[in-house]
């Protein structure tokens, strides 16, 4: 091939076609064919002219390429080498690759255990990583469905803004192009003959869709004046809801009954649009009341052109100054003090980021472990083939050629693992979405082809990375020496240092994973042990959206009828109702006044609207006085039951019984004190709360939670269906929002740590198994390398127990080193988990110790199997072989 380069193509000869042909010709034929073509070309130039000769040459190449590609394929497949090429065998790259691929297939087929282990190991890592990446990409990387999302920001104190504040600022939001106010809610949708159902909705000012900058698919969004009092209420549907309602573009202008109010559908948003989370299905305007001071809304704005979040300091100062002039704020939630803006992306998906990143990191660790395992496996294969490779080298095979074969084998494993991994990712995708603490954002995670391509790319990259280790061993290794060693019983063979390092790394990674899982297990155990102050067993829960078009008296009556109706459901002992359940994140703060203490700074407590039986059904402990009685309903001076925290805060050292407090100007007398209940989050400190009967304050809850105490020994979940049907009969205009149990409510209150724990525990188990396989493989290989040496030494009197001890000791030392590195590594990475921990530090010795100890145990057991094999070597057999 060098000669031809020297002679080179004659002047005037097109180079490109010949270079192309050259790549497809076997070594032995190159020179001849290219020279002949050049000669014929020159002849044709003389006969027919340059252009014709050139055209002929191109035609020759064009006609030859398909035939030569087919021949390369055929030669690679059959291994055919003509007799004339014996002195210079070998062909174009394609041919040798095909030969290597075929050889790899044959090799893998004759070693099914190795092939299966490598493929399955890699597929697990690849599939998991691809699936989590698919979810993370959708939520963290993919653009939000809004125009120029970089300009969008969320205001401080979300869901604490009032209509009055918004109305005051609305004419001029300095630094903003436009600002909208919104809150999430649920509306009862009654369409056709179906049972009314609750649909997650957003209730907003007319600016919302303009701020987000997304055009509706059909019809129009909101327009200024849609939220003026007396204006026609507008509704914009999500693509999904529109499809459910028939997908008719003519829906615009039609009327839809939402919360008992006829609304005109003005538009439909495009597919893929969501705000503020993918569960919301309809966006509504409402008549703004500039006098309403209750804080329920969040603000979202689009910055004026040229503005950045960092450069909004002056604008925020003007906004807070304007708020401070108009409103008086109590000290603890002064909106003028903590003004800040958060980029909308961070505000909407920031909360799921730590969990996603922790999972992605965990999956990547699994992938690394898998790679280390496969690398060790391949290294073992290369060592096991030392003699074969040495023979091939002696016969003239270049190292490059041997490497190419290795790479072909790895790529083959990679392609198969990629396919299997992609299938795994697709199968586990929904499962994973459910296992991750994504909340409402889970609806936005969708499986698509990018996951498949990701799996393939990751698998191939991993396969290539994996070859680096055996390739380096091949490159360095003295292959000719291997032939000699083969005869001298392997004494003095390499120490398997690379393999050892791989296992140490693998164990370190597995320890990190196990430590993370152990920390979460400890956190969740501590969270489970928290006493929420209410019964978590034997209580069924039905959250019901009330008919919106009822008079106050009728509304109260409906609640009573629901209670009575549900009490008659078989298996139900008692029924209570409340505006809001504990453990659901708080809310419903009301300003409190205490009789005789006008000097008390204005402050608020939780106010819980309940039915007389609620406290009893929920198992709230009574500390003093009495609970509610049926006769309390409608009393001129409503009774109130307060919790311990309220009594301690407002009546320190006094007996609160018989004293009077007021909410919303309704004075009531304290008749009882109950124990604190986890009103907000499970881990919140006790907060003052007062229980008032429905109707005690002038407020009609749009939804109530009905709690059903079931008979002892009955599953609360078992009565839910009958309860649903009863509700439909008793109150046809009401809609069941959610049917669940207090056990479930409590489990959800434990929060994302619970879901992440299950996932990490699963992955840690996987890491443990993979680590054990790695230890087993490497120690097995070590034993087989040293087997003859031990056989001889045992023949000379070495006791088998010493061999056993030596082998297990070696395995143990590797695992111990890995465990130590893993613990140190974990301490560096534990920050990722800190947001999920409760009651344990990231350096919890128990969790770290358990993780390291567990791996040590598994590692020693994995080493014990080959160790026993080594100890039971029969010296006679070894001596005969030698």
């Amino acid at each position: 091939m060098d000669e031809s380069r020297r002679s080179g193509p004659a002047a005037g000869l097109p180079r490109l076609p010949l270079a192309l042909l050259r790549r497809l010709l076997p070594h032995a034929e190159r020179e001849e064919v290219l020279t002949d073509l050049a000669a014929e070309h020159a002849e044709r130039v003389g006969r027919h002219g340059v252009a014709a000769a050139r055209a002929w040459l191109w035609m020759q190449v064009a006609g030859s390429v398909p035939a030569l590609v087919r021949r390369s394929w055929w030669r690679g497949r059959t291994g055919f080498e003509p007799a004339s090429s014996r002195m210079r065998p070998g062909g174009p790259g394609l041919e040798s690759w095909i030969m290597d691929a075929r050889y790899a297939v044959r090799r893998l087929r004759t070693r099914p255990a190795y092939a299966l282990l490598a493929v399955v190991t890699l597929a697990l890592g690849v599939g998991g990583t691809a699936a989590v990446w698919g979810i993370a990409r959708g939520l963290l990387v993919a653009p939000l469905p809004y125009a120029r999302e970089g300009e969008l920001v969320a205001f401080w104190n979300p869901f604490d803004w009032s209509q009055a504040e918004f109305a005051h600022l609305r004419p001029d939001f300095p630094g903003f192009r436009r600002v909208a106010m919104y809150r999430t809610t649920g509306v009862i949708l009654a369409a056709g003959d179906e049972a009314p159902r609750v649909v997650p909705a957003v209730s907003s000012s007319a600016e919302l869709l303009e701020v987000l900058g997304t055009r509706p698919l059909v019809g129009r969004g909101f327009q200024p004046g849609d939220d003026a009092s007396g204006a026609e209420p507008a509704a914009v549907l999500s693509y999904g809801l529109w499809r459910e309602l028939g997908g008719d573009p003519g829906i615009v202008g039609r009327r839809l009954r939402l919360n008992g109010v006829e609304r005109t559908v003005t538009g439909v948003m495009p597919e893929g649009f969501w705000f503020p989370d993918p569960s919301v299905r309809v966006w509504l305007t409402f008549a703004l009341d500039p006098e309403d001071g209750s804080g329920n809304y969040a603000l979202v704005g689009r910055l004026a052109p040229g503005r950045t979040v960092a450069g909004m300091g002056d604008a925020l100062r003007r906004i807070t100054a304007s708020l401070g002039e108009r409103f008086r704020y109590p000290e603890q939630w002064d909106k003028t003090k903590n003004a800040s803006l958060v980029p909308l992306r961070e505000y909407l998906v920031g909360e799921v980021r730590p969990a996603l990143l922790a999972t992605l990191a965990a999956m990547a660790v699994i992938l690394l472990i898998a790679c280390a395992n496969v690398a060790a496996l391949m290294l073992g294969q290369v060592d096991g083939r030392a003699a074969e490779l040495a023979v091939r080298t002696a016969l003239g095979a270049g190292r490059r050629r041997l490497l190419q074969q290795l790479v072909a084998e790895a790529l083959l494993v990679g392609v198969v693992a990629g396919g299997a991994g992609a299938a795994l990712a697709a199968g586990a995708f929904r499962l994973l979405v459910g296992a991750l603490p994504l909340g409402a954002l889970a609806a936005g995670a969708a499986l698509d082809w990018t996951v498949f391509w990701a799996a393939m790319a990751i698998a191939l990259a991993a396969a290539l990375a994996v070859t680096v280790v055996p390739a380096a061993s091949l490159w360095r290794g003295d292959l000719r020496g291997a032939l000699g060693r083969q005869r001298t019983a392997g004494i003095g063979g390499r120490g398997g240092r690379v393999e050892g390092a791989l296992v140490v790394a693998e164990v370190a990674l597995a320890v990190m994973m196990a430590a993370g899982a152990a920390l979460l297990v400890r956190s969740v155990a501590k969270l489970r042990a928290v006493d929420p102050g209410v019964a978590t067993r034997g209580v069924a829960v039905l959250e019901v959206a009330m008919p919106a078009d009822e008079t106050p008296a009728r509304h109260l009556q409906t609640v009573r009828e629901l209670e009575a109706g549900l009490a008659a459901v078989p298996g139900v002992r008692a029924v209570g109702a409340a505006k809001r359940l504990p453990l659901r994140g708080g809310g419903d703060n009301w300003g409190i006044r205490v009789e005789g203490r006008p000097e008390l700074a204005s402050s608020t407590t939780y106010l819980r609207l309940v039915s007389p039986d609620y406290l009893r059904v929920m198992g709230v402990r009574l500390l003093a006085g009495r609970g509610f009685e049926a006769g309390d309903v409608g009393r001129a001076e409503p009774p109130v039951v307060v919790n311990r925290a309220l009594a301690r805060k407002y009546f320190p050292g006094l007996d609160p019984l018989g004293r009077r407090i007021a909410y919303a100007d309704a004075w009531m007398r304290i008749v009882g004190v109950v124990d604190d209940v986890a009103e907000g989050k499970l881990t919140d400190p006790a907060a003052p709360a007062a229980y008032v009967l429905f109707g005690g304050v002038p407020y009609l809850p749009p939804a109530v939670a009905l709690v059903l105490r079931v008979a002892p020994g009955r599953e609360p979940a078992a009565v839910l269906e009958a309860a649903r049907q009863r509700i439909r009969r008793v109150a046809p205009g009401a809609a069941v929002q959610q049917a669940t149990t207090m056990t479930q409510v409590f489990a959800e209150a434990i929060g994302p740590a619970r879901q992440l724990m299950s996932l990490l525990a699963l992955l840690a188990g996987l890491a443990l198994v993979l680590g054990a396989v790695g230890v087993y493989g490497v120690i097995s290989h070590y034993v087989s390398r040293r087997g003859r040496e031990w056989g001889i030494r045992m023949a000379l009197g070495l006791r088998p127990a010493r061999v056993l001890g030596h082998v297990v000791g070696r395995g143990g030392a590797l695992v111990a080193a890995g465990a130590a590195i893993g613990v140190i590594g974990f301490l560096g990475l534990a920050r990722l988990l800190s947001t999920f921990l409760y009651g344990v530090g990231t350096a919890d010795p128990l969790a770290l110790g358990a993780a390291a100890g567990g791996l040590l145990l598994v590692g020693v057991v994995a080493a014990l199997v080959p160790a026993r094999r080594a100890a039971s070597t029969d010296p006679a057999v070894v001596l005969r072989e030698t």
Binding site: E32, E40, T78, A83
Partner: protein, 110 residues
């Protein structure tokens, strides 16, 4: 060796071209012979691919030799190759037997 497999049309042509160029049968000379006799421009790659296949079937043999100062892969017909050509021709003759060429050329099938 593989007398059972009948020769393809192009295989037959290449084999005959090898015979016709006898002592000087190499890739380009075979290609040139085919072009001169058939009047079709044949791609050199196709010739080599076919020669490879024929050699794998044992119908031609190749060896490396010097020819006019150039190292060449020279092809020669094997005994099996000769038999295959003879069989192919015999088969064709059998097929032609009883076919009235004059009638075909005058248009229309009798």
């Amino acid at each position: 060796m593989s007398a059972a497999a009948p020769l393809g049309a192009f295989e037959e042509q290449v084999l005959l071209a090898v015979v016709r160029t006898s002592a000087e049968a190499y890739g380009m000379s075979v290609r040139r012979e085919l072009e001169e006799v058939t009047g079709r421009d044949v791609a050199i790659g196709a010739v080599y691919a076919t020669l490879d296949r024929l050699e794998a079937k044992g119908l031609v043999a190749s060896r490396r030799a010097e020819l006019a100062g150039q190292s060449r892969r020279l092809f020669a017909l094997t005994g099996a190759g000769g038999r295959a050509l003879a069989e192919t021709r015999a088969m064709r003759d059998r097929l032609w037997r009883g076919v009235d060429l004059a009638g075909l050329l005058s248009g229309g099938i009798p």
